[in-house]
């Protein structure tokens, strides 16, 4: 896989089918429904429980806005990912071009996905820092790889944004 800035796009080329599939799973991975702890993490409390008025107003007015913001980011990413569906050869490497204007949406959706997966498998700080883990042998290992891969993409996008 190669990743570089190409004009107004971030180009991820030589994507093998496995990594392409992980990218295709970004939108689905942001879905926190049925994942214990994920909803609470995405929509965390704005104040201590004793601040009832603040918490109640937040649920009523702010949470729906946040939900819309997260959904919009996910939809933008899903649209960009449609490029990966065009290949006629099923096992060929492919290229994804992310328009720079969609960088914020990608950062957001990747973060949602990382938080939901981490909640799903209850990853600890030690799990997330273990970069020398043995090859993928379970769904949980795959989840950890996904979190790290999405983190790598976030790092690259941030680096490109910094350069302007």
């Amino acid at each position: 896989m190669e990743i570089r800035r190409h004009g107004d796009c971030i180009e991820i080329s030589e994507l093998d089918p496995f990594l392409a599939e992980l990218l295709r799973q970004v939108p689905e991975s942001t879905n926190a429904q049925g994942v214990e702890g994920a909803q609470e993490r995405l929509f965390s409390s704005p104040a201590a429980e004793s601040e009832r008025e603040i918490c109640a107003e937040w649920k009523l007015y702010v949470e729906p806005e946040l939900r819309r913001l997260f959904e919009t980011a996910t939809q933008t990413v899903a649209c960009d990912l449609q490029q990966l569906n065009g290949s006629t050869k099923p096992f060929a490497n492919c290229t994804l071009r992310i328009p720079a204007r969609n960088s914020d949406a990608w950062l957001n959706a990747l973060n949602q996905a990382r938080l939901v997966i981490a909640a799903k498998y209850n990853f600890s700080e030690a799990d997330l820092c273990d970069h020398y883990r043995s090859p993928i042998g379970s769904r949980r290992d795959l989840g950890l790889f996904q979190v790290n891969f999405y983190g790598f993409l976030q790092e690259f996008i941030l680096h490109e944004l910094e350069k302007g």
Binding site: I54, V62, L66, N108, L115, L128, Q154, L158
Partner: protein, 101 residues
């Protein structure tokens, strides 16, 4: 005949509203808490974007969150503090609004 004293006694609502407004104006602080998933570089970028901090200051707060578990990012009126917390939640950071002691 209207008596000012009588008026103030008959309008307890005014007193209540004043107290509520004073409470509203007490300084509040925006606190960001540590979480193991968000990347350090991402958190730094968010602090720069939301608070307009320099990279150096944003990094200092990020490291405080990382090592101390929390950092106070801003202190002031409640409405503005709420707005900051909302923005931080939009970036999926663990942020809360707290009354200053």
């Amino acid at each position: 005949m209207h008596s000012p004293l009588k008026l103030s006694v008959e309008s307890p609502v005014v007193e209540k509203e004043t107290r509520a407004a004073e409470e509203h104006d007490l300084p509040w602080q925006v606190v960001v808490h540590n979480d193991p998933v968000n990347l350090m570089s991402y958190v730094t970028m968010v602090f720069q974007k939301v608070f307009g901090y320099t990279r150096e200051l944003a990094e200092r707060h990020m490291l405080e969150v990382h090592h101390q578990g929390r950092s106070i990012l801003w202190c002031g009126m409640r409405e503005r503090a709420e707005l900051y917390v909302q923005q931080l939640h939009g970036y999926l950071l663990l942020a809360t609004l707290e009354r200053t002691n």
